[in-house]
Amino acid sequence: MWSYEKKLQYPVKVSTCNPTLARYLMEQYGGADGELAAALRYLNQRYTIPDKVIGLLTDIGTEEFAHLEMIATMIYKLTKDATPQQLRDAGLGDHYVSHDSALFYNNASGVPFTAAYIQAKGDPIADLYEDIAAEEKARATYQWIIDISDDPDLNDSLRFLREREIVHSQRFREAVEMLKEDRDQKKVF
């Protein structure tokens, strides 16, 4: 089961109403390499991964939900005071007519989230390599958002999230090594 804590993992401050930036952040909300995809990917793979790695997938998957909440908070704060005209100017006119200012799981181009973004191959090495790639793609996406962002307060939180992707990637790489060691030890001739 899961249990809620009424706090973000890391503080999220935004400088000004900025719906354009909110639109870019939707890539990490409902995009292919976003936080929703990450959480669902790891928490689904863990049932068939070797016991040694279940804890890691559970804990990283759970942390991804905390990141999803941070991204949601950013999008909410950046758009909550925006007028329909401002949303339209930011390229969120299509979003507005369907959702008003509600959040929705789509990417920066408005494409809705799909389970096709994630994989579960049942092969531990294949799954973990996918997870490493997912973390690296998310890290790169955070970097591009930081590069294009004009909000220094927000960038502080984005840098935190970028660093988390690096840590997760490193932990998954360690998990691969653990499984390889096990595999090599089991060889009997």
Binding site: K6, Q9, E63, A72, T73, Y76, K77, R171, E174
Partner: protein, 87 residues
Amino acid sequence: MIKALPNEYYQQLEEIQAVDFVLMELTLYLDTHPADSHAIQQYNHFAHNSLLLKQKFEAKFGPLQQRSINQKNDFWMWKSGPWPWQI
């Protein structure tokens, strides 16, 4: 919607966020290094710290976690804000 919060709210919350971050980091580290007794010692030290900080915060600002004690007998405080995206 949300009345202004005292600086103390933000300070105490940030302390909790910092300690819980250490716990998260150590958790992931220990998931792949489960026999590192120095890291386990650190983990237990900060787990205790986190507990104390949360008790102090909740006594003043209401429950931070599900299953915490409700401080008032006549009002269910969990349902009250501020929620994380409102501060």
